[in-house]
Each structure stands twice: as structure tokens, then as C-alpha cells.
């Protein structure tokens, strides 16, 4: 790569109005990876990275759902229990009642949609704080989960044959399909960028420096290719990672390119102004929770499939990882601020920490303490940075 391009890139980064937050995520991620790589030579092995990316798919999927309710200034503490419950419902249907996996999963999604829209309704029109409703949900879902699986361990495969459900985290794309994915995603990114540049020009907006755009694309596609090469060295690109990719694209479109998504930001920024601008605040909040319900169901299937069975501990504390991922990624707990890319990075940090600690055989006690400390640190940074910024 020509040296002047790299220099321009750095100058651009240094001169731009990026906040500390924009840098801190990347730096923290690199430091965490260097630390674990030095502590364990297995951390960067294709096998471990493959597992890490499956874990990332699960955590990031849930975190993207959480983003939808954090943006309008709400919260959901019940998603972890929900993951266990809906995964449990589907595996009981498959294993005990011999329901085909697609049907069992559809039932799970419908359940998620119904229950989460009900919670959204209670929160928005009855004005019960989201914190309380979902804390109640956490306990209710946990109890219902244990009742449904009768405190036993229910495998996700019926009659020991693989089904669609368990494939979620076990199926991998063949090697050639992995490279095809890079080509498709890469050209998609390039086309989208070209299109948005020409539109911005058309409407007289300032367009980003062409060299910078090129470098950004170049770096992202290289990173993508590197990831696929590493994953192909083990078993291939996991299905769950592609599911995450599709979901990321959907949530990005929703948050950035639909009125519904912009309303989420508006409500979190100033609810009263939103209401008086004609935004049906209650409906939007119910909508956000309903979408989250579907995502909780999806995460439930993925996490249960990854665990290999539905047991009493599936989903434990996942709500806190999802919230931490969002906050680390720059989402404000007061609402109104947060991006899809930020959440992905936040989830990657959380996943790397958990994966690395498992690899180093850190005791569960210390893991709890570390998880809690990261959550507090992230929220404290959020509060601190919000106080310093002018808005």
C-alpha cells in the first residue's frame, strides 16, 4: 500500500473530531487480545477463534436486540431468562413431543413476540418502569423455564439425530462458500459506499475524502478475508456468524434508514419533544420490545444449541453481557445514543474477555468479579464521557 495513503489515513484520524470513545474500544480490544495471546498460545489458534466467533454471534445477537430498547431509554433485564425459557420450550417440543425443529422454533419466536409485546405494553401505556417489569420477567421466566424442563437436562437433538435447531451453532459453510461470502459481502459494502457517496454529492452534502473511504473499505475487507481464512483453517465459517451478519444488516437498516429507527433515537433524546412531533411514542416502544422478543428467541435457540442441551443455567447473566456490550460500544443508558457497529465491538470485547478467562482456567468466582467490574467500568466511563461532552 502506498505510504502516503497510510499517512493520510493517520492524519485524518488525528485531525477528525473522533471522541476518546471511538478510539478506546479499538485500543481496549487490541490490548485484550495481546494480553490473552501472551498468556496462552491457544488463544489465537483457529480452533479457539472459531469458538470465539460462535460465542460472539450469540452475545452480539442479543446485544443488538438490547440496543433497540436502550436507544429509547428503556432496559430489559429479562432477556437472559428469556433465552433459557424459549430455548427450553423449543427443545422440549423437539425432544419430548417430537415436533419438527422448524415448527418448534416458530412456536418459540411467536412466544417471544407475544410476551415481549405484552411487556412493552405494560411499560409504555401503564407507565411501569422498564426496570421493574423486566426484573419481574427475569424471575417469572426463570421459574417457568425450570417448570417446563422439569429441572432436567433436555438435549436439543431428537433421537440423537441432528436437526435444524442444533445446526444453528454446529453447521459450518464449506471452504469455497466462505470465500464466496467475502466476495458477496465485500462487493456489497463497496456498492453501498459508492451509492451513498453519489447520493450525498447529489444532495450537496460534504463527501468523505475518497482515499479515506478506499482505505476504510480496504481495511474492512482485509479483516473479513483474514477472519474467513482463519475460520477455514479449523472447520469453516459457522452458520451462526452469518446469522449475526444478516441480523446486523437488518438492525442497521432499521436504526438508520427507517422512521421507526430514528424515532428510537428521538424518544431517548427527548421523549416530550418526540411526542409533540407526532411520534406515537407508546407504539414505538412496544415495537422495540416486540422485535427484541424475536431476537431473544433466536438467541435462545443459538445459546441452547451451543450448550448442546437445555439445562437450568442456560442464559444465566446473558442480560448483563448484552447490556455491557452495548455500553462498552458507546450506547448511552439514558437513551438517544448508540450504534450497531459500536455494539458489535462491545460484544467482541465481552466475548474475548469471557473466552480468554475460560482458556486461562480462571475460577468461576473470579470470572463473576471480572464480569461485574467490566460492567461497572463501562457504565462509569459512559457517565464520565457524557458529563464531559457538550450535549
Amino acid at each position: 500500500m502506498p505510504a502516503h495513503l497510510v499517512r493520510n489515513y493517520w492524519e485524518h484520524i488525528i485531525n477528525s473530531k473522533l471522541s476518546i470513545r471511538d478510539f478506546s474500544i479499538g485500543i481496549a480490544l487490541v490490548l485484550i487480545w495481546i494480553f490473552f495471546a501472551l498468556q496462552s498460545d491457544k488463544f489465537l489458534s483457529p480452533r479457539n477463534l472459531s469458538l470465539l466467533f460462535i460465542e460472539l454471534s450469540v452475545t452480539a445477537t442479543l446485544a443488538l436486540g438490547m440496543l433497540l430498547v436502550l436507544l429509547p431509554g428503556m432496559i430489559d433485564l429479562s432477556v437472559g431468562s428469556g433465552v433459557g425459557l424459549i430455548g427450553g420450550i423449543a427443545s422440549v417440543l423437539v425432544f419430548h413431543h417430537h415436533v419438527p425443529a422448524p415448527l418448534a422454533m416458530t412456536s418459540g419466536v411467536l412466544f417471544g413476540l407475544a410476551v415481549w409485546s405484552l411487556m412493552g405494553l405494560l411499560i409504555s401505556s401503564q407507565r411501569i418502569p422498564a426496570f421493574i417489569i423486566t426484573l419481574g420477567g427475569l424471575l417469572v421466566f426463570k421459574g417457568a423455564f425450570w417448570l417446563i424442563i422439569r429441572n432436567a437436562t433436555v438435549p436439543v437433538t431428537a433421537g440423537n439425530s441432528a436437526n435444524m435447531y442444533s445446526l444453528l451453532t454446529t453447521w459450518v459453510f464449506p471452504e469455497w462458500a466462505g470465500y464466496l461470502l467475502v466476495i458477496v459481502t465485500g462487493s456489497g459494502l463497496v456498492l453501498a459506499k459508492i451509492r451513498s457517496r453519489s447520493q450525498q454529492k447529489q444532495y450537496g452534502f460534504a463527501v468523505e475524502d475518497a482515499e479515506l473511504t478506499f482505505l476504510k473499505l480496504f481495511v474492512s475487507i482485509q479483516a473479513l478475508l483474514l477472519m474467513v481464512i482463519v475460520l477455514n483453517q479449523f472447520r469453516g465459517v459457522p452458520l451462526s456468524l452469518v446469522i449475526l451478519g444478516v441480523l446486523t444488516f437488518l438492525i442497521w437498516v432499521i436504526t438508520n434508514h427507517t422512521p421507526f429507527g430514528r424515532y428510537l433515537y428521538a424518544i431517548g433524546d427527548n421523549e416530550e419533544a418526540a411526542l409533540l412531533s407526532g411520534i406515537p411514542v407508546n407504539k414505538i416502544i412496544i415495537g422495540a420490545y416486540t422485535l427484541l422478543g424475536a431476537i431473544v428467541a433466536l438467541t435462545g435457540f443459538m445459546q441452547t444449541a451451543y450448550a448442546g442441551a437445555s439445562t437450568t443455567t442456560v442464559g444465566d447473566l446473558m442480560e448483563l453481557d448484552a447490556i455491557a456490550a452495548c455500553v462498552i460500544g458507546g450506547t448511552s443508558l439514558k437513551g438517544g445514543r448508540g450504534t450497531v457497529t459500536g455494539v458489535l465491538f462491545g460484544a467482541l470485547i465481552m466475548t474475548s474477555l469471557l473466552n480468554g478467562m475460560t482458556l486461562l482456567a480462571v475460577s468461576p468466582e473470579l470470572k463473576y468479579i471480572a464480569r461485574g467490574s467490566v460492567l461497572i467500568l463501562a457504565v462509569w466511563m459512559d457517565v464520565w464521557l457524557t458529563r464531559r461532552s457538550p450535549t
Binding site: R262, E272, A273, P390
Partner: protein
């Protein structure tokens, strides 16, 4: 009586306090109607009743032949009534452009499927977005906000924030615009500009304006009709000259000397 905007027997109490007491008035389409009165007279309560934040205890509010009292604020906004606030209500983390675009959203018809196909140049979403941006650019030009277009509103000075709020209300394309103390906190230059803008909004955009204002000079210069209230009751209603000459107004509001 006309049927553009009428308030009949409107009453709103808070506990034992009667904030608005059987108030009647009617506004003609295309006019500037000002409400004056001392602090605590019930002016902002009246606005809150009209825009749906408070539900009136009794009485009727009719807009273009339809009863709107008791409707939710977002429904009232969609009927074509927009407002600004005494204390600014803005999306402070968003840019001026984004604030104004949010005002447009009630006129948008796109959904997620349109969003997904927006990369196509002639997609519904792209065309609609362009259409709304044009309207918003027009408002930005009208209010001279070009330099603030891509700046987060929280970083703008107070006077400009007030204009952004006015712009966001205009982006709704209202038939009736409620302005709660538009000139408060403005310098005399800014106030002079505001005077012309309000005139422009009335004449160029054909928007009727219902305004609470403390600056008597502005009220006298700009209003077609003025309503003076105190303790939630009508003192007098008439042309600016009639109201200014009324002894009760002079006593209650302008001071006795």
C-alpha cells in the same frame, strides 16, 4: 363565529386551583392571535390543553371542525397543530437537519422493506427521503439556519436553538402553530429577525399562529387579535389597540403607571 379554531368553556383545575376557568375564544384562519397575561395566568396550561399534554376537565377545543380535546399529543400533531416550548424541547444530540427531518416523519410512508431497498436510486425510500429533505432545506433557508445544518443542536447558542425548534415545528407542515414565548431570551436583533420570520411564516406558508408572548412591543406590532387572561379567565379580547387601551389590562399586566 368561524370554525377554524375555537375554544369553548375550557376549564382545567389542579387540585383546588383553577388554572383555566371557562375560557372562550376563536381564531380566524391565517391570523396571528396572541395571548397575554401575568405569570401564572394559565397561558402555558392553555397550550398544554390544546396540544394534548393535559386533558381539559370540561369544555371543547375544535380544530377545522373536529373536536381535538382529549386526543393524545401525537394525534393532535398529526391533525396539523405544532408547537414550540417556553423551555426548549429539542433532540439535542442530533443535528439541525436531523431534528427537522424528525418533524417530517409523520408524513413518511416508508417501512423496513423500503429501507432495505434504499440502495436503489429510484427506490421509494430514496425518493421520499429526497422529497422530505427538499422541504427541510426550504425551512432551513427560510430561517437562515444553513450554517447550523450539520451541527448537533446541543452545541448551538440559545437563540439559534429556539429557531431550530421553530423549524422543527414548521417541518410538520402545521395549519396552526403554537409559539410559547418565542422571543424570550433573545437579543433585540434576534427579536427583530423573529418578527419578520413569524410574518413570513404567516404570509408565505399560510400558517395560522397562536402565540404566548411577554414582549408587548412584539405583540402590538404583529398580532391580528389579542386575548388577555388572568387567573384563567378572559379579561378582554380584541385588536391590539383595543386590548392595550383596556383599563383592566393596564392594571393587571402593564402596570398602573
Amino acid at each position: 363565529m368561524n370554525d377554524f379554531f375555537t375554544v369553548t368553556g375550557l376549564t382545567r383545575t389542579f387540585g383546588g386551583v383553577v388554572a383555566i376557568d371557562a375560557l372562550d375564544f376563536a381564531q380566524k384562519k391565517g391570523s396571528i392571535f396572541s395571548i397575554i397575561g401575568p405569570n401564572g395566568a394559565g397561558k402555558t396550561t392553555l397550550f398544554n390543553c390544546i396540544s394534548g399534554i393535559y386533558r381539559p376537565d370540561s369544555g371543547e377545543i375544535c380544530f377545522q371542525g373536529r373536536r381535538i380535546d382529549g386526543l393524545k399529543p401525537d394525534a393532535i400533531a398529526r391533525h396539523g397543530i405544532a408547537r414550540t416550548f417556553q423551555n426548549l424541547e429539542l433532540f439535542f444530540r442530533m443535528t439541525t437537519m436531523e431534528n427537522l427531518m424528525l418533524g417530517r416523519h409523520i408524513h413518511m410512508r416508508t417501512n423496513i422493506w423500503h429501507g432495505l431497498t434504499m440502495f436503489h436510486k429510484n427506490s421509494t425510500a430514496a425518493r421520499e427521503e429526497a422529497e422530505h429533505r427538499e422541504k427541510v432545506e426550504h425551512i432551513i433557508d427560510l430561517l437562515d439556519l444553513q450554517s447550523a445544518r450539520d451541527v448537533p443542536v446541543g452545541a448551538l447558542p440559545y437563540g439559534r436553538q429556539k429557531l431550530v425548534e421553530l423549524g422543527r415545528a414548521l417541518a410538520l407542515e402545521p395549519s396552526l402553530l403554537l409559539l410559547d414565548e418565542p422571543s424570550a431570551g433573545m437579543t433585540s436583533d434576534e427579536r427583530q429577525d423573529l418578527f419578520f420570520w413569524i410574518k413570513d411564516i404567516q404570509q408565505e406558508l399560510g400558517v395560522s399562529i397562536l402565540m404566548i408572548e411577554h414582549n408587548m412591543q412584539m405583540v402590538m406590532d404583529i398580532s391580528d387579535r389579542v386575548l388577555a387572561i388572568d387567573f384563567g379567565k378572559k379579561l378582554v379580547e380584541g385588536t391590539p389597540e383595543e386590548v392595550a387601551a383596556h383599563p383592566e389590562v393596564i392594571k393587571a399586566y402593564l402596570g398602573e403607571d
